[in-house]
Amino acid sequence: MNRSLVHAALTAAAFGLLALFATACGSSNDAPAGAKKMSFELTDAGCVPNETKAPAGPITFEVENAGTSKVTELEVMDGETILGEVENLSEGFNGSFSLTLEQGEYTLYCPGGEDEKGTLTVSGKLDTENSPQVEDSISQYRDYLEKNATELVAATEPFVAAVEAGDVEKAKSLYAPARIPYERIEPVAESFGDLDPRIDARENDVPAKEWSGFHVIEKALWEEGTAAGMTPVAKQLLADVEELQEKVKTVELQAVQIANGANELLGEVSASKITGEEERYSHTDLVDFEANVEGSDAAFEAVQPLVEEKDPELVKEIEADFEDVYASLEPYRKGDGFVLYTELSKADTRKLAQKIDALAEQLSQTPALIVTE
């Protein structure tokens, strides 16, 4: 519960994002290292100066009320959008905020002044190189991605072999484990066009003729109790997961995407696992549930230092919430996996869903903090 903390950091900082590249650096309440400082005074006339220039990059606006009761606020606007502001500066008070601005003309707005609007002209190019810390985050997550893609192929191979051999019991026992690595990295798979639906579409997600992947085989094994006719589907599945393994090696990643991916995985849990819709024949939804949470956790761990810098309190809360979610799954553990979804009561699923909601609400604050890195 510290939305207010996150927001305190965001109000001044993140309003600036609209004007930024996602990879731009340095806009925060604390003056970013190397930020250019610009001083303004509020007077009866408005903002002083009200015509000024700055190089592209992080800028800290230091604003002081030099003795006017008419003007108490300075806003930097891009067109009609407020990028950053200080408000409620009475006589003698000062305040500051930071923005990273790219080339362009911005409005300096001091409402109540004789001349309310001025212009800030920003020129030059933004330095959009990633910091070493961001590069570390990306490479840590890339390792996780490649490791799971490799595991996915390794776990799908024996599953496919059992399907081809017509060994229904063996195929059933290998089904849920094969899906674990996929569920950990699903948001990345989703970025490759139709690869995700080919591997993971549920019935009716796609036209019947195009339905392929894990869930076709799941239906045959559990509903019909046979693997007959599944060999072509199984072969295609293996080819698709191998294609995924190749693609993740070269996928371009940004820190903010990784943070978004952590969120999306929890969205997956809320939307389809906790409702029992993902594994509608095998009812192994809790296996996917845990895999989604692990994937989300790994993505968060990768960007955690970037978030830590902005809001260490939030990091602590997210980590505690992850622990809470893992703990809430424990009572349902059975053998190598979990009890079937059908064994859960409404009270059980409600409790699990609420734990996920609590975690996701906090986690959803992280992408914005990373963008303002």
Partner: protein, 414 residues
């Protein structure tokens, strides 16, 4: 695009109607009620004040009520949530969006957005604490539970369902626009995530009570005028005597009140098949005019002594007789309920509809409980209703600006 606030839209629409709090903070200073009971949407009701709004506020048309349970027994966390709730409620009641980060591309907006472009619509947000809140050992509130705040005891004709009863904390959001009321509950639930979970919630679509002299008496789903004899907010003496907690303590409740909710399912199919005469004898009023039996006009006093052919004109088991102050040792309550419907009764295939009864009083044990005990045992209406949900909450006094609702209980320090 300028960050849109509902307030800015109102300003640009040039709606200079009576006393809209346009100037941000200035809206809080002009007294609780800044617009008359006009429900054209432009009126706003100040969140901050001596009493919480939503009690003596002329009843709005719509309700969204929610009960929450605590999941974290952390005093500081509860304090922080209530502080944020108050801040958000104050923003919403003036027509502002919740929070400040609503235009940050990579962040989920603070406000969920469905009221952008809608008017304040006299939104009030009223927060209360259930008896179970005080039982959370680690919160350290056990000694602070007021004597008046006890679970409503089992009452005759109860068919209570635990899933739609009780709760640690409640939020009553009332507005003339259903979406504005829903938005308030949704956003507070979101802010509270991790600290509280929603236990149950109830939408109400039509007010069934009149709480101001400026309002007409509405009809409940039985087709009868309801709340004719209610306490009116203008009657400050009655409010002081029956609604607001005074010196009896505890100090943190002074200026507050106690809220009782009863989810009353009406068996409308049966009611609709009963003759008009029976309906009128059951209630004790004429159906269309609303006059008490034996009287001519709605406002006529109940004549409990009158007889017709040797029988009381208002039957001994008529609802109005049993609910009247004279039948209840002079005790009265401020009723503020809403009609509801929630689709189809799963087992019967009938309309799941009725009255979400809400009342405010100084002491439920002395007021609601004996009144309902009498009604539950004798009321002719019992044939057509079932009480399926029940809850009681201590509604602390209002907050001053910069403070929060609950501060009198939980304190100021972080």
């Amino acid at each position: 695009m300028t960050p849109i606030t509902r307030r800015r839209l109102i300003a640009s629409a040039g709606a200079g109607a009576a006393g809209i709090g346009l100037g941000g903070a200035t809206g809080f200073l002009v007294g609780q009620e800044t617009a008359e009971a006009k429900s054209d949407g432009t009126g706003s009701v100040a969140f901050y004040g001596e009493h919480q709004a939503g009690i003596d506020t002329p009843a709005q048309d719509r309700l969204h009520f929610a009960a929450f349970d605590l999941v974290s027994e952390d005093h500081a966390e509860l304090q922080e949530m209530l502080r944020e709730w108050s801040r958000a409620a104050a923003e919403m009641t003036t027509g502002d969006m919740v929070g400040s980060a609503n235009n940050v591309q990579p962040a989920p907006p603070d406000d969920t957005g469905e009221t952008v472009g809608l008017l304040p619509s006299r939104l009030t947000v009223t927060i209360g604490f259930g008896p179970s809140l005080f039982a959370h050992r680690r919160l350290g509130l056990r000694g602070k539970r007021p004597a008046a705040l006890r679970e409503i005891p089992p009452l005759p004709a109860d068919e209570l369902n635990a899933e739609e009863s009780d709760g640690d904390i409640c939020v009553q959001a009332c507005s003339d626009d259903p979406q504005v009321a829903f938005h308030a509950v949704r956003n507070l639930a979101r802010i509270g995530r991790g600290t509280v979970v929603m236990r149950w919630s109830q939408l109400g679509f039509g007010r069934t009570s009149t709480t101001s002299r400026s309002q007409d008496t509405p009809r409940n789903l039985m087709g009868f005028k309801d709340g004719t004899a209610n306490i009116r907010a203008e009657d400050t003496e009655a409010m002081r005597r029956f609604v607001w907690v005074g010196d009896e303590g505890p100090a943190w409740m002074r200026g507050g009140s106690y809220l009782v909710t009863r989810r009353i399912r009406m068996l409308l199919e049966i009611w609709d098949r009963s003759p008009l005469e029976d309906q009128e004898l059951t209630i004790g009023r004429d159906k269309y005019e609303g006059a008490p039996l034996g009287g001519a006009k709605e406002s006529d006093p109940l004549d409990l002594e009158a007889e017709k052919g040797g029988e009381p004109t208002i039957p001994v088991d008529a609802h109005v007789r049993l609910a009247s102050a004279s039948a209840n040792d002079g005790e009265r309550i401020l009723r503020r309920g809403y009609s509801f419907t929630d689709g189809v009764d799963e087992s019967l295939g009938e309309l799941e509809a009725g009255l979400f009864f809400i009342c405010f009083q100084r002491d439920p044990q002395r007021q609601f409980v004996p009144i309902q005990r009498r009604l539950g045992s004798n009321d002719a209406l019992n044939e057509y209703i079932k009480h399926v949900g029940s809850a009681v909450f201590a509604v602390p006094p209002g907050a001053r600006q910069g403070g929060y609702v609950g501060e009198t209980l939980l304190g100021t320090s972080g």
